[in-house]
């Protein structure tokens, strides 16, 4: 029945406890066929535990995991038909690249000639067809990771599980691999679950992001949804640089609200469908790149003035640390000729649609 709905992996009320410690709280998740889903969060948030429960490497305390509509709680890992890529590649050091990639085919009754062809195709897909006879120790980190990917996809898994596969690579390589991984996933159309703590990886690669914190799912949504409309203070703070301010609702009507922010005065915010009551306490999140600084501007009704503190020059943009009264704010603005100098007073403009109202 789940097959018909196009769901590859389903978590139903899944809980993982270690003794008195709950690593993953009651979690429900549907992963659609062929989609790329990312579990994103800081270390210790339960994302890897969740992945390992899907893989069958960690037992489930409560709830059910379904793969292709079939309950797999008690199905051992070697019968789940999954491809897993580990952070440290985990290529078998005593087997050649060919034997590594062919390993899974041995257990799938694939004829020898057919297996050789599939290994060759997989190596071509990861652009390392000439490496078949090498030993893993003769490959660079990036090459090892490609071979690990080839080994995982050659068995045509129902689900591809990636456990921080890029974090052991250096920055340049990581960006290349990111694009390539996404391309390969798209070509194969294999349902993929990706675990990372790196928000830029998550935003760039995912169809859907699951933001996790302390064993709870904070938000599930497309990259745009979680970035632009964070559902909680944690999500707003974890993705990008946000200013999160305490505010009191002074007036609310028709999707717009007037908020009193201590030290800043009144700002206008879109409520995003949230019902607000006058006098209620809320938090408002504004992305650093949505604070528009104007060095020559007049302080008008929709803006306030701030003093520029430290300037973090980053080439195309600069990150400004601002002081308004005793409040610290961050702004990221494109640079026009020169960044705004330290010590200058600027006018800060905020648009109502960039203010995300969160529960206090």
């Amino acid at each position: 029945m789940s097959e018909a709905a196009g769901i590859s992996v389903e978590l139903k009320d899944v809980v993982k406890r270690y003794g008195a410690f709950t690593a993953v709280h009651n979690t429900n998740l549907d992963i659609e066929d062929g989609s790329f889903l990312t579990l994103l969060g800081p270390s210790g948030c339960g994302k890897t535990t969740t992945l390992r429960m899907i893989a069958g490497l960690t037992s489930i305390t409560e709830g059910d995991v379904l793969i292709k509509g079939r309950r797999v709680n008690d199905l051992p890992i070697h019968k789940r038909n999954l491809g897993i890529v580990f952070q440290n590649y985990a290529l078998f050091p005593h087997k050649s690249v060919f034997d590594n990639v062919a390993f899974g085919l041995k257990y799938r009754n694939v004829a020898k000639a057919d297996a050789a062809k599939r290994v060759k195709d997989a190596l071509e897909l990861v652009q390392l067809p000439q490496m078949a006879d090498r030993m893993p120790s003769q490959l660079s980190g990036g090459q090892q990771q490609r071979i690990a990917l080839a080994r995982a996809i050659v068995i045509q898994p129902d689900v591809l599980l990636l456990d921080e596969p890029l974090s052991a690579l250096d920055a340049n390589l990581r960006e290349d691999m990111r694009i390539e991984l996404k391309k390969i996933q798209h070509t194969l159309g294999v349902t993929t679950v990706f675990v990372t703590h790196d928000q830029s990886e998550a935003l760039a690669m995912s169809d859907k992001i699951v933001v996790m914190s302390a064993g709870h799912v904070e938000q599930v949504g497309t990259p745009e949804e979680v970035y632009n409309s964070p559902a909680s203070e944690f999500v707003a703070g974890f993705l990008g640089n946000s200013n999160i301010l305490d505010a009191t609702v002074s007036d609310a009507a028709e999707g717009r609200a007037k908020l009193d922010v201590d030290g800043l005065g009144t700002i206008l915010a879109d409520t995003g469908g949230r019902a607000l009551s006058k006098g209620g306490k809320v938090k408002v999140s504004i992305r650093a790149e949505k604070l528009y600084l104007d060095a020559d501007g007049e302080d008008d009704s929709s803006s306030f003035s701030a003093d520029v503190g430290t300037v973090d020059y980053q080439g195309q943009v600069a990150r400004y640390f601002l002081t308004v009264g005793d409040r610290q704010l961050q702004a990221i603005n494109p640079i026009d000729d020169h960044p705004i100098a330290e010590g200058k007073t600027v006018a800060v403009k905020i648009r109502a649609r960039d203010c995300v109202v969160l529960p206090a």
């Binding site: 070697h78 985990a90 899974g104 080994r151």
Partner: protein
């Protein structure tokens, strides 16, 4: 003129002389053509080695020792690998106690262990036999295998096994395809340890061996009680070759194996 270093150097040389001079005397005298197993040497000869070969008791003792050593090595290594897997890969109640019990035979004086096993089996009404002797040797070689294999297993990342299983290999296939090849150098080293310790052992063997069965060390011991025959020097030399050359060969093989990875 005498710096601290030259004292240390001199001390080191003296220690080595102290350790190896008696051994080299045995080896040297085994080639002596004289009737008497002592200096001065009269000429070079292999006659005592030939005499060894002709001495049926010694040949039988040698066969017994080889058989005992080989069986001890195989059984100890098998048990040791299984025990190490349990200790390193799983958690279960009483793990620390079992781990201590496994290593304990190294710490308990061998005489005590020997008497204890004898008394225990006596109380059970089991007579002395070759299997009992073998069991004794397994008990006190097992800790060496466990220590060596455990150390290696700790350094083999769990992910290799997890990767193999995710690709469809069951637990037994994973062990033979992945785990065993990766710990093979330690398994070989452990087996060689077990063999040489068993081959050398005299204390436990004296207590456990059934009547009429002699190993090389107990045979030498018996021969020494009658007279110091030059044959003993030759036998000593053969033992040195077996117990030194074999581990060296094994170490070389293990190094080659791990380099291939």
């Amino acid at each position: 003129m005498f710096s601290g270093w030259s004292f240390i150097r001199l001390g080191t040389i003296l220690v080595y002389v102290f350790m190896f001079a008696p051994v080299s005397v045995v080896v040297l005298l085994s080639f002596n053509s004289s009737q008497f197993g002592s200096f001065p040497m009269e000429g070079l000869s292999f006659r005592w080695f030939v005499a060894l070969w002709d001495n049926a008791a010694i040949v039988r003792a040698f066969q017994t020792s080889m058989m005992l050593g080989a069986l001890t090595a195989v059984i100890s290594t098998t048990l040791g690998v299984l025990a190490s897997l349990a200790m390193v890969r799983y958690t279960f109640p009483g793990k620390t106690a079992i781990s201590t019990a496994l290593i304990a035979p190294i710490l308990v004086p061998e005489v005590v262990l020997a008497v204890a096993l004898l008394l225990f089996l006596g109380a059970m009404g089991v007579p002395k036999s070759f299997p009992l002797l073998l069991a004794g040797h397994v008990i006190f070689t097992l800790p060496f295998v466990v220590l060596v294999v455990q150390a290696r297993l700790v350094s083999v990342k769990r992910e290799y096994e997890e990767a193999a299983m995710s690709l469809g290999a069951g637990p037994i296939e994973t062990f033979f395809q992945i785990t065993l090849p990766l710990i093979l150098p330690a398994v070989l080293a452990g087996g060689l340890f077990a063999f040489t310790i068993s081959f050398d052992d005299i204390t436990g063997t004296l207590f456990w061996k059934p009547g009429g069965v002699e190993t090389v060390p107990t045979q030498i011991f018996a021969m020494l009680r009658n007279s110091i025959s030059p044959e003993i020097n030759a036998l000593g030399t053969v033992m040195i070759v077996v117990t030194v050359a074999l581990p060296l060969l094994g170490a070389a093989a293990a190094r080659r194996l791990s380099r291939k990875q």
